[in-house]
Amino acid sequence: MRVDHEQGTGSGVDPSARLAVNDSANNIMIRVEDLGKQVVSPEGPLVILTAVDFRIGRGERVAVVGASGSGKSTLLGLLAGLDAPSSGRVWLAGVDLGALDEDGRALLRAERVGFVFQSFQLLPGLTALENVMLPLELAGQADARRQAFELLERVGLGARARHYPAQLSGGEQQRVAIARAFAGNPDVLFADEPTGNLDQKTGHRIVELLFALNREQGTTLVLVTHDTELAAYCDRVLELDDGRLSERPPARTAGG
């Protein structure tokens, strides 16, 4: 385990545990410090993110915007512990992701994190219901089937529970994905261009649904998008430009 510089040493208490208490007490859901990511490309090392620092409070809705290749998706992957940073640290729900192994991070995701992807990423081998049940089962919940069915009803797909993804339209697939993301009441929901593959009208409905559920459950929402309209739904907007992060105020306040 790494020693936590910021909190000092020698207290005999697990620093990340102490930090968790602190973060929880301060209602901080995500804390990022000096985060950097490099990859080795054929032309040499490529810097994707440099010195990224920010905090996201519980229940906040944050949009991450930026041009293509500015590192938005990379940042999302790092926040969710799906990828390992080259430098810096991420605390998710007060837990230092760098201090966890791969399985530890998976466990954390199972308990606290939901995902919505641009290309839906439903498992083609499972029905809509089974797709929604998946995170519940992975978290070991007993009445996974009932909960999943309720969520499907909530997104208006109760009648389609036994359909396979291939039998659903794009909008319907994304609604299943949203139901899956909210299954198990996650603390944080990461959404990566959730409307990117949908037409405007369907996209609009999906956004409404996403934010409605977010309100109902009080989930912290991190939304990667280049859709300014979508970003305007959010409380804060973080802009990535060539791997550097800056915060700018939302263009206008919409929806609440």
Binding site: A106, G125, E137, Y164
Partner: protein, 847 residues
């Protein structure tokens, strides 16, 4: 890609093709480096190598056979008969200006002091051989030289085996019947030596003029009379035409093509067997090619969509991939040829010593083309269809990744593969019927496997709600992928079946085959025992510890009519049936059914059968000659007619080396005909003195030592099975390729699913368990099906090809299920290992 082959309208066709070829070669290099083509290439290599190895070997054997063909008979044409050749035939031949020479072949015991040895005696008249040459030498294993003529009267030439058996040397005297002869030369080779594979006893060559002095040939003795003829083709043809219609029962004309029939037939059978074994590898490799090509194509949908998007026509797409594949086929084919060429040396090593010429001629280049063609046909039939579908990839896929090529019809996908398989089979097997049988067998196996797999996959669907998340996921995957899983189970099943056949079932078959010739099988026959010697011989053997020796009477007779309808060779198409009707066969009588005989129809003797004239017929003979239960048979025995009604059909174990008879009568029926008696028994190596004593006491009894023959049979069993095993190594490799390709085929999907599962918070152990569940279940299904198929195949082979009872073994099932579950499960996990260890984000974004 630097330039896209589109705006090339102004260029010539040749330039356009050349340009496409360059692009294709570049694509080949790239795809090879990314590892996508390796399975495909390996499968092709195996197909070509197995055909090439067998082709090269067959070519060498063929060359050896043809080189010797003209000398195989020692003549251009031979008249053979069980009786002295009629002078009118010889006269006719001479009138056509043909050279002639006479031969008599018979078996006799050669004595030298106390030593004795059964020998194959050939008595030759002046002029022998008319074609080819006798090779002789002055001392054993000395340098051989062509002989000038034949042995002088009073002299014999013998082969080395006889000298060592009798402990004699060149110049010593030996007895042959009542004659005394001096061993003058060692006979090292003769053109018409009876089929080297089956020659049992050592050879003695004597002068025809000496035969009367031996007193060995009496009326009723078994002698083959041969008149050798040689001359101009026209004269030979004229004589053949003239003689053909005048031949009497038992007389035969043998041309060069009939020479060494048994060796030729045995080798041709072995060659055909090897061909088919090679083809099984080709078909399996084809399945591997098909699976690998499908995956290759699926991975190129994106790049094809882009090419189409920027204006590549469907024609360009097809040309591009066809050329890339052809280039690959050429490279893999060359490598396959090299491997095959190397492998044929091993094959020649195993089988070469069965041929009398120790050194086979070097292989020619002729088999190269067929082997390469096999590779191309395999590729075209199995690999091209999925690649051709690439041209149907819509350019819109660039925008909507969920769009794939329009679904092709089943026929378009699998039709070429079936056609390719049939074409290869007909070409290689050279027979429509055999090809159709094999093709039908393979197709039937695949269909049954597919149906069974489909049923099992469906049944799994019922299970999915009842198991934990990892297993549910794995099971659901199998059930959900329905058709894909079925294909995978079939492919895995084929691969596993090849493995099972090659290991367990083969071992069982061989063990069963060997068991049918036990170590204590009779290895000596006594024939020509006179009726008044029967009691004496039985007592003699009994005194020497040979307790349960049975003696059977034997009367020679020829079948002349079935139900008052006269039968002759012309009534039958089958050559074996023709021969059976032509020649006399052995009749016997007994009151007790022999231990290894079984009544398969009718009943054993009842009171009154003897008076009525009942007969029991061996079922194979009955089948060949069209004899049914209750038919009335008429025989010609020693010039007198004999009638009997068939009251039973028997099965007989011919390869038991016990005395057995086609037709058996109740005692009494054959009383008035002249009979000799026959028996067989097992004599171990230390008991040989018994034989010398016996011959001294009963000089007219003939001893046949079949130990050498049995060893030869055992050797042939061993060698042929080793050779086939050797060729089956390719089948094994092809089976492994199919297994590998089948597991590879869904690897991309599984990487994606693993990444999603882990993103959603599944620990690696859960993902691993779900993968293991899926692969292990697939493997179990495939393994069980493979065991069923292998068992069935083993049963069919045992009962219809090798003719013995197949013993069912639980091991095949245990091994099939076990190996399938463990092997496929582990292999699947290993294949997915990289996906498991990669951060899920990267895996998701790469796919």
């Amino acid at each position: 890609m630097a330039s896209i082959p589109t705006a090339m309208g102004s260029r010539s066709v040749a330039q356009r093709w050349l340009h496409t070829l360059r692009l294709a070669l570049r694509a080949l290099r790239r795809d090879w480096q990314s590892g996508e083509l390796r399975v495909l290439a390996l499968a092709l290599l195996i197909a070509v190598a197995s055909v090439a190895a067998v082709g090269f070997f067959n070519d060498r054997v063929q060359q050896a056979m043809e080189r010797k063909a003209s000398e195989l008979l020692g003549a251009d044409l031979v008249i053979a008969a069980p009786n002295p050749i009629r002078p009118e035939l010889i006269e006719a031949a001479r009138r056509q200006g043909l050279q002639t020479a006479a031969l008599q072949n018979f078996r006799s015991v050669v004595l030298a002091g106390d030593a004795m040895q059964l020998a194959e005696v050939k008595a030759a008249g002046p002029g022998y051989p008319l074609r080819g040459a006798l090779l002789i030498s002055d001392r054993p294993f000395g340098p051989a030289r062509p002989a000038d003529g034949i042995p002088n009267p009073g002299q014999v030439w013998v082969d080395e085996r006889l000298l060592s058996a009798l402990q004699r040397q060149v110049g010593d005297m030996v007895e042959l019947g009542t004659g005394q002869f001096r061993i003058q030369q060692i006979l090292t080779d003769e053109p018409d030596r009876a089929g080297a594979v089956f020659s049992i006893a050592p050879r003695v060559l004597m002068n025809l003029a000496d035969v009367p002095a031996t007193g060995l040939i009496q009326p009723g003795s078994r002698v083959e009379y041969r008149q050798l003829l040689a001359g101009e083709p026209a004269a030979l043809a004229a004589f053949r035409d003239w003689a053909q219609t005048r031949l009497q029962v038992g007389e035969k004309l043998q041309g060069v093509r009939d020479a060494r029939a048994e060796l030729r037939v045995a080798l041709e059978r072995a060659q055909r067997f090897l061909n088919l074994a090679a083809l099984v590898s080709v078909i399996l490799a084809g399945v591997g090619v098909a699976i690998a090509a499908r995956r290759f194509a699926a991975r190129h949908w994106d790049s094809v969509a882009i090419l189409r998007c920027v204006g590549a026509t469907q024609g360009v797409i097809v040309r591009l991939f066809a050329l890339e594949l052809l280039a690959l086929a050429v490279l893999a084919g060359m490598a396959g040829l090299a491997v095959g060429y190397g492998a044929q040396f091993g094959l020649s090593e195993v089988l070469g010593s069965l041929l009398s010429q120790a050194d086979l001629p070097a292989p020619s280049w002729q088999p190269l083309l067929p082997a390469l063609l096999t590779g191309f046909i395999t590729l075209l039939g199995f690999g091209l269809p999925p690649l051709l579908r690439l041209r149907a990839v819509p350019p819109l896929r660039v925008l909507r990744r969920d769009l794939g090529p329009v679904d092709a019809r089943l026929l378009a996908l699998y039709g070429p593969a079936v056609a390719a398989t049939l074409a290869l089979l007909i070409w290689q097997a050279g027979e429509w019927r055999l090809a159709l049988y094999v093709c039908g067998g393979v197709a039937g196996t695949v269909v049954v496997l597919a149906l069974a797999a489909w049923g099992l996959v469906r049944a799994l669907g019922l299970l999915r709600g009842r198991v934990g998340v990892a297993w549910r996921f794995g099971v659901a995957n199998i059930a959900r992928r329905g058709s894909g899983s079925t294909v995978q189970v079939v492919a895995l099943g084929l691969g596993l079946m090849a493995l099972l056949m090659l290991t367990l079932v083969r071992a069982e078959l061989l063990a069963n085959w060997r068991a049918s010739l036990p170590a204590d099988a009779p290895n000596h026959f006594l024939i020509n025992i006179q009726p008044d010697e029967v009691a004496g011989v039985r007592a003699f053997l009994h005194e020497r510890g040979l307790q349960d020796v049975e003696l059977f009477p034997m009367v020679r007779g020829r079948l002349t009519a079935i139900n008052d309808r006269a039968v002759g060779p012309d009534d039958y198409e089958d050559s074996r049936a023709k021969r059976l009707v032509e020649r006399e066969f052995n009749l016997s009588w007994t009151d007790r059914l022999q231990g290894d005989n079984r009544i398969v129809a009718g009943r054993w003797w009842q009171d009154g059968d003897s008076a009525m004239g009942a007969a029991s017929v061996e079922k194979g003979l009955a089948q060949d000659l069209g004899i049914a239960l209750h038919d009335t048979l008429r025989f010609q025995v020693a010039g007198q007619p004999l009638e009997a009604q068939v009251t039973s059909l028997r099965s007989v174990e011919w390869d038991s080396f016990r005395a057995n008879f086609f037709v058996v009568f109740p005692s009494g029926v054959l009383d008035r005909y002249p009979a000799t008696w026959i028996t067989s028994f097992h004599l171990s190596a230390g008991q040989q003195t018994v034989l010398a004593d016996l011959v001294r006491r009963y000089p007219s009894v003939t001893v046949l030592d079949v130990d050498a023959l049995m060893n030869k049979v055992r050797e042939i069993m061993d060698r042929v099975s080793t050779a086939v095993e050797y060729v089956f190594l390719f089948t094994l490799a092809a089976g492994l390729i199919v297994l590998y390709a089948a597991i590879q085929a869904t690897q991309d999907e599984r990487r994606f699913e693993s990444a999603i599962l882990r993103t959603l918070g599944a620990r690696r152990a859960v993902v691993r368990r779900s993968l293991l569940a899926e692969f292990a279940l697939l493997g179990l299904l495939a393994g069980v099906l493979a065991a069923a198929a292998a068992t069935l195949l083993g049963y069919v082979l045992a009962s219809h090809v090798f003719d013995f009872a197949y013993r069912w073994s639980p091991w095949v099932w245990l091994a099939g299920g076990g190996i399938g579950m463990l092997g496929v499960g582990l292999a699947g996990l290993l294949g997915a290992r990289s996906a498991l260890n990669q951060p899920p984000w990267r895996a998701l974004r790469e796919l």
